[in-house]
Symmetry: C2
Subunit: 195 residues, 2 copies
């Protein structure tokens, strides 16, 4: 008579519950360190190598091959348009993080979602980047996220799910609130290392 | 006898100068709008479609095919690890934006760069995302960026170039300072639209 719905929204609830139990017992398992290295190629084109990370108590080296992701700029911004630009990647990170936060937390609450589509846009005044006006910030003035949420859910449940996104998404948190960023330069680079 | 060094660091200085002249004459040309739509697939997997944007006085539709970029989560975070996760994409956006900002502004100052490598990392306590401790933020506690800059440049010039990155990078600006984000839900989604 036991009904097992162990996977909701593609999230394995047994494994999610195991993670939470483990972290309660050993809070240090919650420490994660994500990282990458990026290499400039030419003009607005550069490439990131993304592979290992630290989490759940140790180095995670399960990725056999690294992810290689590029940035470029469109022609009007003097690039060769081989990839999205960093601002578009910021929106991509934000869209994905909001979505995953909604999906995982909805699963934990037993809310089954049938579809999520998000549309994001950001407005920017290029005078900030160009340094033509010190009163204009280089970044987006604001970002607008529109969410289409589909499922057999009440409006109140949908609002609750959207709030999971804004409350628990790491990227949403950082983009809205800001993060301390430490910038350091290695002055002793040999040409061989940088190549 | 005229010496033409019209391209430095892959940046066409004539075109950069034209952009600045145009924006001084018509400041509205500096308005850019970047955007994307993202669709949830399953669990921690979702996909962004990136194509047109607004800039330089009109819709830019020069990209013939859209860029399709995915987010996923590694197995330890209950995903299928088909793509970097949103936190890694945030670091990718930040790395690329700092680099391009250094490259373009260095070019404008006549500083020739031979190589840039950046390494980024962010530390995160998963208890924030999981909602296990309201005092812990979901996002990175801090981000560390290390820059290796190579070229026939004095230490002072290298420091100046790094400062171009932190002063003019749109993503650096947003990640350090935060941006107003407006979140709205379309409650009237029909299943056909969300599919």
């Amino acid at each position: 008579m036991e009904k097992t719905t162990s996977v909701i929204n593609g999230v394995n609830l047994k494994r999610l519950s195991d993670i939470i139990t483990l972290i309660y017992a050993q809070p240090e398992l919650a420490h994660f360190n994500f990282r990458l290295s990026n290499q400039w190629v030419d003009g607005g084109y550069n490439q990131s190598v993304i592979k290992d990370f630290y989490g759940a108590g140790g180095e995670d080296t399960t990725r056999e091959t690294p992810f290689i992701v590029s940035n470029d700029e469109p022609e009007v911004l003097l690039g060769t348009d081989l990839s999205p630009n960093p601002l578009e990647f910021l929106l991509h990170a934000l869209a994905g993080c909001i979505t995953t936060s909604m999906v995982y937390h909805a699963a934990a609450h037993g809310y089954k979602i049938d579809g999520i589509k998000t549309s994001l846009e950001g407005n920017l005044d290029l005078k900030g980047f160009l340094g033509l006006d010190g009163d204009i910030r280089p970044g987006f003035k604001e970002i607008h996220i529109r969410i289409d949420l589909d499922g057999d859910l009440t409006d109140q449940q949908k609002e609750e799910i959207v709030q999971f996104g804004s409350s628990f998404s790491p990227v949403f948190d950082m983009v809205t609130t800001g993060v301390p960023v430490r910038l350091s330069m290695n002055k002793k680079t040999s040409p061989a290392e940088a190549a």
